[in-house]
């Protein structure tokens, strides 16, 4: 280490501690022969290296409804992700930036009996916001609330394999599963599962939890305000957090530009250049797991013909969809619902690119001609769905397929169109594991199997892979499953869409989670003000 390098290191440390200004640091670095740009980069890196406590974080979010409550059974949108994962709620586990499951309120979790039995140890001495200690009874009560016979919870879908859940002493909980599940702890990292305080067998649904922030004021559909919980086992960095519901994308952008909020989600991609040129602004751009699909009902004519499905997969120009609908903020899909960042995700061959000639020849071989198909689209499925459907119709024309775009109302789309019309648009927020993603949307009998796809081999592979603890064997099984979906399935995966937002450069952060927007829902306790 030269003398300059040594001094630079000291200067960087001083910056981290806030003892050296940008001006002084830059002066020193320039004198040592560094360029202005690299001096600046070094300064920013050093200044952000350590999380600092303090400040009032205001997030402007395109989510929220007057019917919102702190009942985790109804958690479904972007405000709730934070509530369950990093504001008021403390779940048993969390996902880290590399999408591994790590203990959070649980101290540890251990499988036994070939992953059919799971033992969770609860952190000792953790208290709810009202001072009550978190015990195994609270955990058991929370799980039963979601999994009981009268449950209204969307989280029930993750607990289908649970046979019994029992407390074993004040800080141990034992789960018995129907079949082996190597990914079981991932379920509890979902935003529906913050541990609730149980009294007399009933959960407290008022926003009371053991999380890093305490609820301090809530007006449904308007704003939610939180204060730092100094007694949390892992308190957040901000003194205060406010979530503001700003549903209109232009209003969100304006609120950000006027400095009324520090971060906005779901940026309108048409006007993103305006945000890029705004002072002290960084674009939050994370390639996540959410994907937009065009599911075909594989038991309904004409989509029951696998050759037709195959031909259609070649007849769509997905790159153009990414360029025009997502303005380049995404990746073309290859008919596997697993995002590339997910463990065990593969890209099955042949990659489905735009090849109308190939589509034509497949159709000719199968003896299909003069095809006229209806596709149902609405912006409720995903933003730009109708435009995407019109582009698809244009693409398919070259392959001799006529697509008629049926514009459906946004209201009630999920009741009246999805899984009811033979071909429509849909989006998936993504799931943390290969198993949950594949079983929730493609396995036989799943409530959300939106293609009615029943593939014997696929349904045989899933439970085997779920219980397999050897990663190499699992990878092979999941590769085969993805190949089956890719070749035969009815779920046309059009594209993976990035999460795009805008944030002030005053916010410090580490790497981002990709399993949800808002840094996976963890931004409230992970980020800080520089």
């Amino acid at each position: 280490m030269t003398e300059f390098e040594y001094k630079l290191e000291l200067a960087k440390r001083a910056v981290t501690k806030g003892k050296l200004s940008r001006r002084d640091f830059t002066k020193f670095a320039l004198a040592g022969g560094l360029t202005l740009t690299s001096a600046n980069t070094l300064f920013i890196k050093a200044a952000r290296a350590e999380a600092k406590q303090g400040g009032h974080f205001r997030a402007g979010l395109g989510h929220g409804n007057t019917t919102d409550t702190f009942d985790p059974a109804t958690y479904a949108h972007g405000l709730n992700f934070g509530w369950g994962r990093s504001l008021v709620g403390a779940p048993l586990t969390r996902t880290d930036q590399k999408n591994n499951v790590v203990p959070y309120l649980a101290e540890s979790f251990e499988p036994s009996d070939g992953a059919k039995k799971w033992v969770f140890k609860i952190r000792k001495g953790v208290t709810f916001h009202n001072g009550k200690t978190v015990t195994s009874d609270d955990v058991v009560g929370t799980i039963n609330y979601h999994n009981g016979p009268d449950s209204k919870s969307a989280g029930k879908a993750y607990l289908g394999g649970v046979v019994s859940v029992k407390a074993d002493g004040p800080d141990t909980v034992v789960f018995e599963l129907k079949g082996a599940d190597a990914d079981f702890p991932y379920a509890f990292a979902q935003y529906q599962f913050p541990i609730l305080s149980i009294t007399d067998g009933k959960p407290d649904l008022t926003g009371l939890g053991a999380g890093p922030y305490v609820l301090d004021g809530f007006e449904p559909g308007v704003r939610a305000h939180f204060k730092r919980n100094p007694n949390a086992f892992a308190p957040g960095n901000f003194d205060e957090v406010t979530q503001l519901t700003i549903l209109d994308a232009a209003a969100r952008t304006n609120a950000y530009l006027a400095g009324e909020v520090d971060y906005i989600d779901k940026v309108d991609l048409k006007t993103i250049d305006m945000l890029k040129s705004a002072p002290d602004t960084a674009i939050y751009d994370v390639s996540g797991m959410q994907h937009y699909t065009a599911p075909m009902l594989t038991d309904t004519a004409p989509f029951d013909n696998p050759e037709l499905r195959k031909a259609l997969k070649w007849a769509i120009n997905r790159q153009e969809l990414v360029d025009k609908v997502l303005f380049g903020y995404g990746k073309p899909g290859n008919d596997s619902p697993l995002a590339p960042s997910l463990k065990f995700a593969t890209s099955p061959d042949p990659v489905h690119t735009y090849d109308p000639e190939k589509a034509k020849s497949i159709l000719a071989k199968a003896g299909l001609s003069g095809l006229k198909l209806d596709i149902s689209a609405a912006d409720a499925a995903f933003a730009g769905s109708v435009d995407a459907a019109l582009l698809m119709a244009e693409h398919a024309k070259a392959a001799g397929i006529e697509i008629n775009v049926v514009r459906e109302p946004n209201d009630g789309y999920w009741d009246n169109v999805w899984i009811k019309k033979p071909w429509c648009h849909c989006y998936w927020g993504g799931r943390p594991t290969a198993d949950t993603m594949l079983s929730v949307s493609l396995s036989e009998g799943a409530a959300w199997n939106d293609t009615h796809w029943k593939n014997a081999r696929f349904n045989e592979i899933l439970p085997i892979a779920r219980g397999e603890t050897d990663d190499a064997k699992r990878a092979a099984l999941y590769a085969e499953a993805q190949q089956l979906v890719h070749d035969d399935g009815g779920q046309m995966v059009l594209m993976f869409a990035n999460y795009v937002g805008a944030m002030s450069t005053k916010l410090g952060h580490g790497d981002f989670n990709s399993d949800n927007d808002f840094d996976g829902g963890y931004m409230y306790d992970r980020w800080w003000f520089v």
Binding site: G60, N65, T66, T67, D68, T69, D71, T74, A76, Y145, D150, S151, K152, S153, A154, K156, A157, K202, P203, D204, L205, T206, G217, E219, P220, G221, V222, R223, L244, T245, I246, L247, D248, A250, A251, N254, A255, L257, A258, G259, E260, V261, M274, L275, S277, A278, P279, D411, G412, W414, D415, N416, W418, C426, Y427, A447, W448
Partner: protein, 348 residues
């Protein structure tokens, strides 16, 4: 019976009938909408099982007529019931009463309507009087074309233009306008203070802060409603100017200003009051677009929200409030028409 009292009683009686009809229409149309509260809340995540559990705990598995009668029974006693949100929760503290949800929103809406009316009504009447006074002159023409332009532009457009000015002022227009435009626009608007484009207010917001935050929505609405009231004032005064008593006043040697303010205006109140009442009703029930653009938590957004999520108790209460607003404001307009017209006030 005195005609004013008779009108009031008659109208109130008819109003009750109207409210009843509105409640039946709202209830049945919400009933006819596809999907229910459970599907709307759970969205893509709704499974038949969870939906059934929801409907059971909300009592939605019972026939609609039973539910309507039950609701009506509560409503006539002033009890609008509980919102579906949080109802069926496991504890009492999760229950949300419709009145608690609507109360603050209602206050916000009235606040904005009152603020707008305070700005818009005097401006509209003054401009109308001046336009009548200097009719067909340059003042009349300019005022007419300006107000007609603002009323002809959709309200969200007016709102966005104002937001652009407010936000641009703060950021030096560099971030919000195309390259090179900023410096051109800046000199014209730099005298405007930094108005807040985000009008999110809450229960604890102090009065003057509330006024400050609601100022942009109020200006937007003023621009939208002024033309209508102004033109009605102008038209009703001009139509009176051909009357013999106006000619008499002129012959007496009164100035044109005195003729209009003393002799024409008192006889023009009835049509003006009707138009003002109409516009005030619009300010209460029809400003959802402006609420959305400025994120102002008013009752319009609440109604749209609750219809979207099929929260029927809230939607019904909102609809009743809207209907009642129209009925009451029209009643007030009619009373003004009677009181300012001696022929109606003292019938033979």
């Amino acid at each position: 019976m005195h005609p004013v009292i008779r009108t009031v009683l008659q109208r109130l009686g008819l109003g009750l009938l109207t409210l009843f009809a509105v409640s039946v229409i709202i209830f049945s149309s919400l009933e006819l909408l596809p999907g229910g509260f459970a599907e709307a809340i759970l969205g893509q995540g709704a499974t038949p099982e969870t939906v059934a559990a929801f409907n059971k705990s909300l009592g939605l598995d019972r026939p609609p007529v039973t539910r309507y009668v039950e609701w009506l029974g509560g409503a006539v006693q002033g009890d609008f019931g509980k919102s579906f949100a949080g109802a069926g929760g496991w504890r009492e503290e999760n229950v949300r009463f419709v009145s608690d949800i609507i109360g603050p929103r209602f206050y916000n809406t009235f606040f904005l309507a009152a603020l707008t009316a305070l700005i818009a009504v005097p401006i509209a009447i003054a401009l109308g009087l001046f336009a009548a006074l200097y009719r067909n002159g340059w003042f009349d023409r300019i005022i007419n074309s300006v107000t007609l332009t603002t009323i002809a532009s959709p309200e969200f457009f007016v709102a966005y233009v104002l937001v652009l000015i407010a936000v641009g002022n703060k950021n030096g227009f560099a971030a919000v306008l195309p390259d090179g435009w900023g410096p051109m626009v800046k000199p014209f608007v730099s005298w405007i203070p930094d108005l807040p484009p985000l009008a999110t207010v809450s229960k604890g917001t102090p009065f003057w802060e509330h006024v400050w935050k609601a100022i942009l929505p109020a200006i937007t609405l003023t621009l939208v409603i002024v033309a209508h009231m102004m033109r009605m004032t102008r038209a009703s005064i001009i139509s009176l100017l051909a009357n013999p008593y106006i000619e008499m006043a002129k012959l007496k040697g009164l100035s044109p200003r005195q003729v209009i303010v003393r002799h024409a205006l008192p006889n023009a109140w009835a049509p003006i009051a009707t138009v003002i009442a109409f516009n005030l009703a619009y300010l209460v029930v029809g400003v959802v677009v402006v609420e959305v653009v400025f994120t102002y938590p008013g009752i319009g957004q609440l109604m749209v929200d609750s219809v979207g999520s099929r929260d029927m108790p809230v939607a019904q209460a909102c609809a009743l409030i809207f209907a009642a607003t129209y009925i009451l404001l029209n009643l007030v307009a009619d009373i003004i028409a009677i009181v300012t017209n001696p022929r109606l006030l003292h019938p033979k």
